[in-house]
Symmetry: C2
């Protein structure tokens, strides 16, 4: 294909320099999860180059967090802009001493892509933090409603909360789903239900877990079973909300469960959640940390649902290269200042970078491009599944851009073999390979990826 750079692999993966470098790093910094050590200066666009000189087509993009390619010229320009330099050198306590341009940066950047129905933002530094901040806003709203508008905090509340005791520190819950991933803080981890390695040995809140629908593929051959499965899960959600030992103040869900195995549900399911949460005054939080910023062929994955009313909060991170939550209801701003607060409240340098990313995505119609390329990639993967039905199962993500996945027998082995062919991909769940190309992944990269799959599967 014209314009397509080919991967180049000259060593075993990881190569000797990568290995030595990771070993050296491991003396001071846990490097056991290092796949290879990277020369980012030599990486470009969709291609990542390791310190041994191997060049990979990157279809994993830093755990789904590279939006517009390595050394993207627009980002290089932004990184050298006066605003970024100033934000790096003069890091403000934004809540107390914001920069004169903070308002403009928000409006010209993140708020330009605020999901429909939202017009306010709170910034953070990670998806985990964004989710916890959203939980806190939901809990404060719940208690504000219970307490009554304008009713002062009682002395008992004020004193007991300093002892981590009721009524000041109440039992309030957030409902999440089986196989979900919402982060690794003590609150977000209590909502994460993906793998033991994320959770073992860490205390957790007694919060409810609902089943996420387990759909059967191909979807068009299992409409009835899948509808029944989603109905069952919705009924369970409502049962949990109405019967839990303490108030369920918020429900958090990923549009596509990513770490947990690329699990999808239908728009009707999410509309059901919207209805149930609205009925019970539960804040509906959509965790778009992995799906946001164009990953699914729309800027926000929840746009695929065409909900009757928007989610209450949308959290983001990863491809945004910064983090936070969007919301519309001003009651989600706590009753007084300093309740939702911290020293930095995000990182303005990263928020300015995010503005450049947003402009790049919008100016170059990268979401539309990714939707289009994703369709072609889907068609190729369908052919692959026909040729290797044992090795490519439950192909999923149709219509969700290039946010595609399938189950296979030995995902980790497949990833290793793909790397030695110069393709960097990732796994999720227990038997799934997930594709997380950047938004600039083009038609010309599809054959490179597919050739590698066919080589590996053909040799299996």
């Amino acid at each position: 294909m014209p314009g397509a750079v080919l991967p180049e692999v000259a060593t075993q993966i990881p190569g000797p320099i990568s290995k030595a470098s990771a070993k050296k790093l491991d003396e001071v910094f846990d490097a056991r999860a290092v796949h290879f050590v990277v020369d980012y200066d030599k990486s470009e666009g969709n291609y990542i180059v390791d310190v041994d000189g191997n060049r990979y087509l990157d279809v994993y993009s830093q755990i789904a967090s590279v939006p517009v390619g390595y050394n993207n010229p627009a980002m290089l320009a932004a990184a050298q802009s006066p605003d970024v330099i100033s934000a790096l050198v003069n890091r403000p306590a934004i809540g107390n001493f914001p920069s004169r341009w903070w308002n403009d940066i928000l409006r010209e950047g993140l708020l330009r892509v605020a999901p429909a129905g939202t017009d306010k933002i709170f910034t953070a530094q990670s998806g985990s933090e964004a989710n916890e901040l959203a939980f806190k806003a939901a809990m404060m709203l719940w208690r504000r409603r219970e307490r009554g508008e304008g009713v002062a905090w009682t002395q008992e509340e004020i004193e007991s909360c300093l002892d981590n005791a009721k009524p000041g520190s109440p039992d309030l819950a957030v409902l999440a789903f089986k196989n979900s991933f919402h982060g690794r803080g003590f609150g977000s981890l209590s909502c994460t239900r993906s793998k033991a390695v994320h959770k073992l040995d860490i205390p957790a809140f007694n919060w409810p877990k609902a089943d996420f629908p387990v759909l059967q593929y191909p979807l068009d051959k299992h409409e009835k079973e899948n509808a029944a499965e989603e109905k069952r899960c919705l009924e369970q959600v409502e049962m949990l909300i109405t019967s839990w030992h303490c108030p369920v103040t918020a429900l958090i869900i990923e549009p596509i469960q990513s770490e947990g195995g690329d699990n999808h549900a239908s728009p009707a399911f999410f509309q059901g959640l919207r209805d149930i949460t609205a009925k019970h005054n539960v804040v509906f939080i959509v965790d778009e940390v992995q799906t946001g910023f164009g990953a699914t062929g729309k800027f926000w994955a929840h746009e695929h649902w065409h909900l009757s009313s928007p989610p209450d909060m949308i959290t983001f991170s990863k491809r945004a290269q910064c983090a936070g939550y969007f919301f519309g209801n001003e009651k989600l701003v706590p009753d007084t200042a300093y309740r939702q607060f911290n020293t930095w409240i995000g990182d303005p340098a990263r928020v300015v970078m995010s503005k450049a990313i947003i402009h790049e995505i919008l100016d170059k119609n990268l979401v539309e491009k990714s939707a289009r390329v994703g369709e072609k990639l889907w068609a190729e993967l369908e052919l692959l599944a026909l040729d290797y039905p044992e090795l490519v199962q439950n192909l999923r993500g149709k219509g969700k851009g290039a946010f595609l996945a399938f189950d296979t027998r030995e995902p980790a082995a497949l990833v290793g073999k793909m790397r030695s062919l110069g393709i960097n991909i990732g796994t999720c769940g227990t038997r799934t390979v997930r594709l997380r190309p950047m938004l600039i992944f083009g038609d010309e990269h599809i054959p490179i990826l597919m050739d590698a799959f066919r080589k590996v599967f053909g040799a299996a």
Copy 2:
């Protein structure tokens, strides 16, 4: 004094442009805690300039988080260095795909100032996150010891943790102190005991709280009472550790409780904590988020204690302009990869900036400078306390650089009046004014600060 720029205040504070700007911002971003809106381009060194053109001597430094001054030339150079540009544009998932220079940046930067007895690091994005990561490492170590080295996780553990249930999600505690501040995540907030505004309405873990010694001032006139008070608190700590309903895996303490009111304790008290934690296998975490990076006249405040053996973990953020924890015991690296992990594991752009800060501090002997200036500032404050004994009480921080504080009747009113004289200072606790000058605060700034105090108190 030669070289000292004078503050300039030409409007009411906040000025009309600040007010209008904050109001506009508040439409989209909670701006109720904004003191004034800043023109960082015009700010320099110790002076912060607002959008109305008012220039303040900044003795609060973004809630104690500016190390070497606004628009510091070394930081400006670092912000434009290839490493920072690369880290901004190509943000890695450090745990999987570290940059070829990550190892060097850590060793030439943060590890150069690793506290004695530590030689390993885990990076994070905020003090809150750093503390929670430290808790998790302590909890995993505790269970590893209980489980036995090399003993595999049981199926029951693996399954139960996904339900937030025992034994996989055990009851494990972290002990913290009354009036402490350790962050606002659900775990760190369970250790924060400072003010209701930080904690109210948020669920908390049932973790123990010990009294922090309440010392009487001046110290040399209350030696006996203060020793008794510290003994009482130490006994309480040991009682809590040995009698709590679940294992206390870690103890976290600030060398000087900052948000909670600038509360000090003696080296003997901290040695007592070291002894008790060592005796009971409790991980001793020193939270140097506010005190680290030279704030107290030593690079790390716990150096003042001359402990018989070092703390197990030291967390940092704020002046470091990045965050994380240091440690020495390799058992604090969890038994397998991916247990202590997240997508970004800190922000390399900020870590490179931190390296520049460290070099600036070391090259210019800024810790020694701050210690020296702090002594003079202390002497002036003692004179002030003699002249205004009703308004300047419990002066504290002697020998701790410029990390000084005193109690006063109406701290918020004092801060307001000081701002209108062009001095930016902050409060803490319920009746305390805290000074948090940068490390470049010089002799020449002392009279400017003292003149303002005298003007305000003289008019009182």
